[in-house]
């Protein structure tokens, strides 16, 4: 894929999420007091109220919580069909990230499918995409 999709701006709120792929890491903000993960990031922990949060690398593994196979050409940068998914990360039951599911036949994607992260680089930004766990 040579075309560039719409990309995030790197800001102090979330740059760790978009650049962790340079080190091969998916990084999620986590409370250092109660250890709850906070995504999308918030300045205070929504679980305990602490303001002591920092990004931590997670396993990059999860399961498909839901998905949609998009057939309509809406972006010049993305060939259709493509699969948008919400992945529930293994670390916490409510830790959901939207992503694109790749290296899989769209018709084979299912809710509950185990997946793992891989990164698609666009200069400084590394988009965390997910693919089925290698058997």
């Amino acid at each position: 894929m040579t075309a560039t999709p719409p990309l995030p701006r790197l800001t102090p709120e979330s740059d760790f999420y978009w650049t962790g792929g340079a080190a091969g890491e998916l990084r999620i903000l986590r409370c250092r007091d109660c250890r709850h993960y906070a995504h999308p990031p918030t300045p205070l922990c929504r679980s305990c109220g602490s303001d002591d949060l920092a990004p931590e690398a997670v396993s990059g593994r999860g399961t498909v919580w839901t998905f949609t196979i998009s057939y309509q050409q809406l972006l010049p940068s993305l060939a259709t069909p493509y699969v948008v998914g919400i992945v529930e990360l293994d670390e916490q039951s409510d830790l959901h990230v939207t992503t694109r599911l790749v290296d899989v036949d769209p018709d084979d994607v299912a809710v509950g499918m185990p997946v793992e992260v891989r990164f698609e680089r666009h200069d400084e930004v590394y988009l965390p995409l997910f693919a089925p766990v290698a058997q």
Binding site: P5, L7, W65, T68, Q72, L75, V84, G85, D94
Partner: protein, 395 residues
């Protein structure tokens, strides 16, 4: 029921512009046409209007989406001075501006507030098929869209389809159930002279239509339109002197959950439920009293969510409820989306649904009139935002 603020307001006038796919007119022009129509309908004169509200106001958005700022419409109508004006870029659903008008009038901050929604989304999407270019892409995406757009989740269709797939997983909803929402809307649009698409479709037409993003087919998605709808909200004490007042029995509003489209815990986890609980807590009326319902149908799946949230059926039962149209057609106990909804009538972001509810309790719906309709239910929004209103025939 103790006194509530809704008792202090009426919807004194309703208005609409021409509605079509590509009218070649500006959003301001359409807003002014609908607003003049609403003011004329209310029996007031422009000089009586002392407040104006736009939804959503001028914000960065895809071409044709926002419509003009409230003050541009005020300027065009030569209104003023105004004691209250604003735009509701945030709020409990697309009817948040209308709710704010009710709050303003009930509080005494204004006496007659004009509310409008104007859009040229059909023209904005151009002749070359749908485009999803968004101004936020320039310079890098910030805010909630950064979590969606880089992955191709660029349309509300994607965001709701994600919820739809999970609902199918949880409850076994079948396409031949979901499709009846669209078939029903089209049947009623055939009786609505200003609906965008009026030729009937069958469930087989629905099943044969192309998939936009699974599980949504073309007919599950509402129709971008060039259109404007306007209302005048007036102090209740002025109603005896006005020709067409409609009562506001109750307003339910909710922001619930996190302000994202991918952080739901369950497939029925939408603010519609909290908004519905709020609505029913503010009235002695129940669903048994409702004569007609115009529920949000930006996507047909959203209508199923509202049917469950408002108590038409239990969680996971909405597919069975709509199947075959027996419960939702004109002639049923509570006909659904009698003006064709947004699926066939055109997307005016719930304002057209409330417009239809008002006309029904006024008895002005001709061929599609629900006989004796006195109570109409309307809903708006999806995801973390929900708004719902009960309007009544003036007593």
């Amino acid at each position: 029921m103790t006194a509530k603020y809704e008792d202090r307001v009426v919807i004194s006038g309703v208005g609409r512009s021409d509605i079509g796919r590509r009218l070649g007119r500006s959003e301001l022009d359409l807003a002014v046409q609908a607003s003049r129509d609403a003011i004329r309908d209310s029996g007031l004169s422009p000089a009586d209007i002392d407040g104006i509200i736009a939804w959503p106001g001028e914000t960065p958005a895809p071409s044709g989406f926002t419509g003009p700022a409230a003050l541009r419409v005020s300027d065009a109508l030569a209104l003023g001075p105004l004691t209250y004006h604003g735009a509701w870029t945030e709020g409990a659903s697309q009817l948040a501006g209308l709710m704010a008008a009710c709050h303003a009038v009930a509080s005494g901050a204004a006496r007659h507030v004009l509310v409008f929604r104007s859009t040229c989304e059909a023209s904005g999407q151009g002749g070359g098929g749908r485009s999803s270019a968004h101004p936020v892409d320039t310079g890098g995406i910030t805010g909630h869209l950064q979590w969606l757009r880089p992955f191709g989740a660029v349309s509300a269709a994607h965001w709701m389809a994600l919820m739809g797939t999970r609902y199918v997983h949880d409850y076994g909803l079948r396409p031949e159930q979901l499709g009846w929402v669209a078939v029903n809307a089209r049947a009623h649009a055939g009786l609505t002279p200003y609906a965008v698409y009026r030729d009937p479709i069958t469930i087989d037409d629905y099943l044969a239509s192309r998939i936009i993003t699974s599980p949504f087919r073309l007919y599950d998605c509402d129709v971008p339109a060039d259109a404007a709808i306007a209302f005048v909200i007036s102090a209740a004490e002025t109603a005896p002197d006005l020709p067409n007042p409609v009562g506001v029995e109750a307003i339910g509003a909710a922001f619930d959950g996190r302000p994202y489209w991918d952080q739901f815990r369950h497939s029925t986890d939408m603010a519609a439920h909290a908004a519905a609980r709020h609505l029913w807590s503010r009235t002695d009326l129940t669903l048994d009293d409702v004569d007609v319902a115009n529920l949000y149908d930006g996507f047909s799946f959203i209508t199923l969510c509202w049917l469950e949230a408002l108590g038409f059926c239990g969680p996971g039962e909405a597919g069975s409820y709509v199947e075959g149209r027996h419960n939702i057609r004109l002639g049923a106990k509570i006909p659904l989306n009698t003006g064709g909804g947004q699926l066939s009538g055109g997307r005016v972001h719930a304002h057209s649904l409330l417009y239809e509810s008002c006309l029904q309790v006024r008895g002005e719906c001709a061929e599609r009139q629900v006989p004796g309709a006195e109570v109409a239910l309307t809903s708006a929004g999806a995801g973390p935002l929900g708004g719902t209103l009960l309007v009544t025939k003036a007593r």
